[in-house]
């Protein structure tokens, strides 16, 4: 039944929910597909095959022994570190690998595929819920423009090699996926940098229990993908049925003013507002119905 005929006949339109089990299944599949190097149980090392030449736009450390793909944030910093002569085409390659899928799906990757986002969702406890301090949303700009894009170009370490500042000092996904393993495998000792990163990870875990997807609100990759939310082919769309009841805005776990901000940078396309809408006025689709 089409949307228009359902409207005319005034019958409730049946639609499968998108934000429940379906999204959870995709998240679990994504977790094991991106981190599917189970051979590491036998070999004990990192995966070094051809899949490491690509990045899927999600926060997943490529120094994790299970990781099959490269981390886009890590690769951006590495290519910037190599400088314009050596790293320019590599930098553009990574930008292409992020931008091309983002042109189609925007921040869908955050909501449906990111393993670290999934982890945060799993540890969130609704009854301890806190509201997200609004000023913290500016952290993502500091992380992206400071730690990811500028610091790796400016600061070099004692060997003349530029450090990937975000990975080194901030990234909680890197600490969780690679830091503990590296410590256990004997790649290094416990120092100030690792202690700082573990403190950041502990804070992220603590706040993720109380704030839904706490780190996603400060994630530099999420910010990059968020810029594409306005122009991506997949859009949150509103039709004429909307009576401004406000249910969608209240249910949005990312605290976005739906339905006013349909293309917000913070929208991870989880689809909770689509499912919650009593009038079925919202949809997550590629096709513009032409209404509103």
């Amino acid at each position: 039944m089409s949307v228009s005929s359902a409207w005319v006949s005034n019958k409730p339109m049946k639609r499968k929910k998108i934000s429940g089990h379906k999204r959870r299944i995709v998240q679990i599949l994504s977790l094991f597909l991106i981190n599917g190097n189970f051979k590491t149980f036998l070999t004990g090392g990192l995966y070094k095959g051809k899949l490491k030449n690509i990045c899927i736009p999600v926060l997943n450390c490529h120094s994790c022994p299970f990781a099959l793909t490269a981390c886009p944030v890590g690769m951006i910093q590495q290519f910037l570190a190599l400088g314009l002569r050596q790293g320019f085409t590599g930098f553009l390659y990574i930008i292409g690998l992020i931008g091309l899928p983002a042109m189609f799906l925007g921040r869908f990757f955050c909501g449906w595929l990111c393993p670290f986002g999934f982890f945060q969702e799993m540890i969130f406890v609704r009854k301890f819920k806190l509201s997200f301090p609004p000023w913290l949303k500016y952290l993502k700009y500091l992380f992206l423009f400071g730690f990811v894009l500028v610091f790796p170009v400016i600061f070099t370490n004692k060997f003349g090699v530029v450090a990937p500042a975000f990975c080194k000092y901030i990234c909680p996904a890197g600490t969780a996926e690679a830091g503990f393993w590296g410590l256990w495998a004997g790649y290094g000792g416990f120092g100030f940098v690792l202690a700082g990163k573990m403190a950041i990870l502990a804070a992220v875990i603590f706040f993720s229990v109380r704030i839904w997807r706490f780190f996603c609100r400060a994630c530099p990759l999420g910010l990059i993908l968020g810029f594409f939310n306005k122009i991506s082919l997949l859009q949150l769309r509103l039709n004429d049925r909307c009576d401004n009841c406000g249910v969608c805005g209240r249910i949005c776990p990312m605290n976005i003013a739906v339905p006013v901000e349909l293309s917000s940078k913070d929208c991870i396309r989880c689809g909770k507002c689509v499912d919650a809408c009593p009038k079925k006025a919202l949809s997550l689709s590629f096709k513009d119905s032409g209404k509103r």
């Binding site: 490491k52 030449n53 390659y93 292409g96 091309l100 590296g182």
Partner: protein
Amino acid sequence: MKNSKALLRIVLIVLFALFVAEGVRQRRSAVTGGIAGYVCLECMGFK
């Protein structure tokens, strides 16, 4: 407005596809595989 958005989409999709194609052509595997295939001590917080 709609046309300009569609045009922007096409331009960006082509541009990003070119970036990827050029990277593949230049055998980025030598670079990405070289970096991402090895342990990043910075990522672990050791350096």
